[in-house]
């Protein structure tokens, strides 16, 4: 059982960083409840508020890791131009997608939007992390700031989810593959 180096980097970008980021939004839901719940039902302690601030900081860091790994590690392989005489486009995902009218939309809309939309997630999450760390329990006093935080988290989720969806579909239709083989496990039948 083996994968190529480019597969491994793509997995790191999409599943280790991006997938984990999407999972952490369930915890973000709890944080939003913490600042919106009636005071007599749950008022987080100072330590819990600090934890929520660092939780959003970790989410923002995951977001930045995802977009930088995507833009500077995976995307150059995706958009690589094949030599003029090449007929096998399997090593050139963008050109492979654009070579057929049934798949070109995955690039024209999917990748073209994903490569920009994804950046909204770390931008929003960094602002949310800062607000949680600076204001903590005081967020309960600032209704409009709470609304902004909820909106930014929602936008970050939307951006991460759509970018993740398009990333998965792009990699299904034209995998980013190549480089040295990495053996994950040797078969007992070898």
């Amino acid at each position: 059982m083996e994968i190529t180096f480019r597969d491994a980097v793509t997995v790191m970008h999409g599943m280790a960083f991006g997938g984990l980021l999407l999972l952490t939004f369930s915890g973000a839901g709890i944080a939003l409840y913490a600042i919106c719940a009636p005071a007599d039902s749950w008022t987080p302690a100072a330590r819990e508020n600090r934890f929520l601030g660092w939780y959003f900081s970790a989410m923002a860091a995951l977001g930045w890791l995802t977009v930088f790994a995507g833009a500077y590690l995976v995307y150059p392989w995706y958009r690589a131009r094949p030599p003029a005489s090449t007929t096998d486009l399997s090593g050139y995902p963008q050109r492979l997608l654009m070579s057929s009218p049934t798949t070109t939309g995955w690039h024209d809309i999917g990748m073209e939007w994903k490569e920009h939309l994804a950046w909204f997630a770390p931008l929003c999450l960094t602002a949310v992390a800062y607000i949680f760390l600076r204001y903590g329990a005081q967020l309960r006093r600032y209704k409009e700031m709470r609304n902004a935080v909820i909106g930014l988290v929602a936008l970050a989720f939307f951006a991460a989810a759509f970018a993740g969806f398009f990333g998965a579909m792009l990699n299904k239709n034209a995998p980013v593959r190549g480089g040295a083989n990495i053996i994950l496990m040797r078969s007992s039948h070898e």
Partner: protein, 112 residues
């Protein structure tokens, strides 16, 4: 430090963080459209060739985001601002950014 001593007192720094996201969003949208529509802009944004114009579009957006955040944060550090208006402004800028990065809208604006 107790919670009361840690009270920030004003909402200005929070407003700066929110509005800076709006500034970054509309900047990303405008740069994306420019990079797609104007060859000279695409060339300008091509900071790192393997990634192409995306490197400059996102890199310059981050610089403008940080500059806007820093500027607004210093300006509003000791102030209470009308957060409702900040939210509305940020919402409009974020919506503009989302639309300008959406390929069918970009194509429509370029008459493609």
């Amino acid at each position: 430090m107790s919670e009361s001593l840690a009270m920030p007192g004003t909402n200005g720094k929070g407003a700066a963080a929110v509005l800076a996201v709006g500034v970054a969003s509309v900047t990303l949208g405008v740069f994306t459209l420019a990079g797609d529509a104007i060859p000279a802009a695409a060339s300008f944004f091509n900071v790192w060739n393997p990634t192409g114009p995306l490197s400059g579009v996102t890199g310059f957006t981050i610089l403008i985001w940080l500059a806007a955040w820093g500027f607004l944060s210093r300006r509003w550090a000791a102030r209470n601002v009308n957060f409702h208006r900040i939210n509305l402004a940020a919402l409009v800028m974020i919506a503009a950014g989302l639309l300008l990065t959406f390929p069918p809208v970009m194509d429509l604006l370029q008459g493609k």
